[in-house]
Amino acid sequence: MNAAPTDTVQHESIYSGSIASWLTTVDHKRIGVMYGATALLYFIVGGVEALIIRLQLAAPEGAVVGADAYNQLFTMHGTTMVFLVLMPLAAAMFNFLIPLMVGARDVAFPRLNAFSFWTWFFGAILLNLAFFVNQAPDAGWFGYANLTSKQYNPGLGIDFWVLSLQIMGIASIASGVNFTVTALNMRAPGMSLMRMPLFVWMALIVQILMLLAFPAITVGLIFLLFDRFFDTNFYVAAAGGTPVLWQHLFWIFGHPEVYILILPSFGIVSEILPTFSRKPLFGAPFVIFSGILIGFLGFGVWSHHMFTTGLGPIADTAFSLGTMLIAIPTGVKIFNWIGTLWGGHIVMRTPLYFAVGMVALFIVGGLSGIMHASAPIDLQQHDSYFVVAHLHYVFFGGTVFGLLAGVCYWWPKVTGRMLGEGLGKLSFWVMFLGMNLTFFPMHFLGLDGMARRIYTYPAGAGWEQWNLMATVGAFVLTLGVLLFYVNLVRSLRSGEAATPDPWDGATLEWSMSSPPPEYNFAVIPTVNSARPLWLHKYGPTRDISTHTREDGTPPQPDHPVERIELPSPSHWPLVAAAGLTLAGGGTMVGLLPVLAGVAVLVVAVYWWAFQPLERPGNPIFEPARGTE
C-alpha cells in the first residue's frame, strides 16, 4: 500500500474500505469516528426517551405512559446520556485528537484501543437489549440499593443494567490506561507537559479520574451482583448491612464522573476560545492547575449527594466546605476564558458560538451547584426539579454544548468537509433557546416543591405552566439538534472541502491534510512552543492579530520522508470484546453461554498477545521518489 507520488494527494481513503476493515481497524482515527457516530445515534435514543418524559409531564394527570414505563424511561435516559452519549462522544475526540495533538502516529496500544471501543459497543447493545425483553432497568441511573434488590425488583432489567455497566466499565479502564500512557509517553520531541495542548491536559485528567473512580462503582456493582445472584446481604438492613453503602460507592464514582463529563468540554473550550480570539489562552498554566485541582477535590466531595441520608454535622460540614472549594478553581477557569475573549480579535464562527454558549450556560449550572453545596439548602432542594435543572445546565449546557463546539471545530479535520455556517449558527440559537426554555422553568418547579421522578402530578399545584413551557422547550431543543444533524449530513454530502488549517489553529492537528493521512505525521514534529503552529506561521509573537502569516503552507509534507510502518489490523480485539460480553450477559441465561464467552475471551487474548503488532501486509508508506 505505497502512497503514490501524485501532485494532489487524496487522503480521504483513510475511511474507505470494506466493513471488515472497520471491524478490524486499529487506527485511532477510525476508532474515534466509530465512537462519535455511535454516540450521536444514542443521542437520538436518549433524546426520544426525554421527549416521551416531557410529553408525559406536559399537563397534569398525563397518560402518555404508565408509572412502570416512566421509571424505565428516566432510568434509560440518564444511563444512556451518561454512558452511551457524553462519555463516548468525549472518547471519540480523545481517540481522534490526542495522538494528533501530541505528535504521535497512533495511541500507545492500538489493539487495546479497538478492544475498548468494541467492549463499550457491545455493552451498550446489551443495555438496550433490555427493551426487547420488555424489562428495561427502572431504578434510576444511580440505581439506589433496595430499588435494585431481587426482593423489590425481581425482573431482568436491573441485571441488564448491572452487567452492561460492568462491561462498559472495563472498556473505560482499558482506554484510561491507554490514553494516560499516550499523553504522557508519546509526546513529540520538545513537547514538555506545559506545552501540551489544553485539550490533552483535560483529557489526561479525565483518564486518571476514570482509572481511580470506576473501581468504586465496579465494587458496588459486584456487591449488587452477589446480592442478586448469590443471595448475599451487602445492602440488606435486616442482615446488618446498609443501603447507604451503595450510595457511598456509587458517588465515590459518581462525583468524579461529573468531572469526567465536564472536563473534556473545558479542554475543548480552552482550544476554541484562543483560536477565535486570535490570542493565546489567558493564564494557561492556571487553567491546567485548576483542572488538576478540580480532579483532586472531586474525590473528596461525594457525600454532598447524600446530605439527606443523615451523615451527621461533622461530615455534612466537611463535604459542604470541600464542595464550595471546587468553585474556586472552576471560577478561575471561567475568569481565564473571559480573559481570553477580552481584547481579542474575535472571529464569529459556529464553534465559538457553541463555546461561548457553553461558558454562559455552565455558569448557570455552576451557581446552582454552589447552592447545593450548602447542606441546609440542599435538604430543601434534594430530589426536587431544582436539581434536575442544575444537572441539565451542567450536562446539557456545559457538556453537550462543549462537545458540540468540539464537533463543529474539528469536523473539517475529521471529515475533510466544512460545516455550513448559516445552518450551524441557526442550530446553535435554536438549541440555546430550547435548552433554556426546557430547563430554566425547572428551577421554579423545584422550588415550588415538584419532586423528581414522579410520573404524574395533580392539577392545581401551580406547576402547569412551567411544565408546559419545559415541554415546548424540549421540542424546540429537539428541532435545534435536528438542524445540527442536518448540517452534519449536508456537509458529508456536499460540504465545501476543508483546507488543512481552516481556522488558523495553533496546535499540531492543523499541520497536516484534512482528513489526516493514515500515518498522521509524515515527519514527527519538534515542538518549541505551546502553540507550535502559530510559531510556525507567525514567528515568536504572542499577538498574532497584528502579524501576517509568514508561511501559509502547513508544515507537514504531503508524502512520507521516511519509511513508516503502521500496526496491522486485527480482529482479536473484537472477538475478545464479544467473548467478554457473552460471558457477562450470559450470566442471565445460564452456565453454558458464560463458559463459551470465557473460552472465546481466553482464546482471543492469547491470539492477540502472541500476534505481533506489525505483521507482513501491514500498512507501509515509503518516501516518494525525489524527497529522500
Partner: protein, 190 residues
C-alpha cells in the same frame, strides 16, 4: 512503533502496568473499606475471632511473599539470558503461588463446613468477596507465569523479552503487597 523513543524513557507497557496498578489500588481499597465498615455488624456468627486460623494463614502468607523473591530472581535470570535459572524461578513462582491458592481453597472449604458461607452473615460476604477477588488475581498471575514458563521452554524468553517478565512481575508484586494489607486488616487486627 515500539522501537520509538518514549517521552519518559519508560516502555509503554511498563508505564501502563503502573497506571493499571493505580486503578487496582482503588479496587482493592473499596473492597477493604467495605470489609472494615461492616466489621462487627454481622447479626449472626461465626465471627472472625471464632474461625480465622492465624498460624495457617501466616504460613501461606510467607509462601506468597517468597514467591515475590522467586519473581525477582526469575527476572534477573531472564535479563542475564540464563535460561536454566529462568525456568527454575518462574517455576518457583508458579509452585509458591499454587501453594497459596491451595491454602485458600482449603481455608474456604474449611470455613464452609464450619458454617461460614457467602450468605451466612456480613463477615462471610465481605470476607469471601475480598479474599476471593484477591485469589482470582493470584490465579490470573499463575496462568500468566505458566504462559511465560511455556515460552521459556520453547526458547522464546531471551533477554529481548525481559520486559514481558518485568511487567508480569510488577503485577505479581502488586498482588503480593495487597495480600499483606488484607492479611493485616482481616487476620491480624481483629
Amino acid at each position: 512503533m515500539s522501537t520509538h523513543a518514549t517521552t519518559f524513557g519508560v516502555p509503554h507497557r511498563k508505564m501502563a502496568m503502573w497506571v493499571f496498578i493505580g486503578s487496582e489500588c482503588m479496587f482493592f481499597g473499596s473492597l477493604i473499606a467495605t470489609y472494615l465498615s461492616y466489621k462487627g455488624k454481622s447479626v449472626v456468627g461465626p465471627t472472625p475471632a471464632e474461625i480465622l486460623n492465624i498460624p495457617l494463614t501466616s504460613v501461606s502468607t510467607f509462601v506468597l511473599l517468597m514467591s515475590s523473591l522467586a519473581m525477582v530472581l526469575a527476572l534477573d535470570a531472564v535479563q542475564r539470558d540464563d535460561t536454566r535459572q529462568a525456568k527454575i524461578w518462574i517455576g518457583g513462582v508458579i509452585v509458591l503461588g499454587g501453594i497459596f491458592l491451595a491454602g485458600q481453597v482449603y481455608e474456604f472449604s474449611h470455613f464452609y463446613h464450619e458454617g461460614l458461607t457467602l450468605q451466612q452473615n456480613l463477615f462471610g460476604s465481605t470476607f469471601f468477596v475480598l479474599t476471593g477477588f484477591h485469589g482470582a488475581h493470584v490465579t490470573v498471575g499463575v496462568i500468566w507465569m505458566a504462559t511465560l514458563l511455556v515460552m521459556a521452554f520453547r526458547g522464546r524468553l531471551g533477554p529481548e523479552r525481559s520486559l514481558d517478565v518485568e511487567v508480569a512481575g510488577l503485577y505479581w508484586h502488586f498482588v503480593d503487597v495487597v495480600w499483606i494489607v488484607i492479611f493485616t486488616v482481616v487476620y491480624l487486627i481483629q
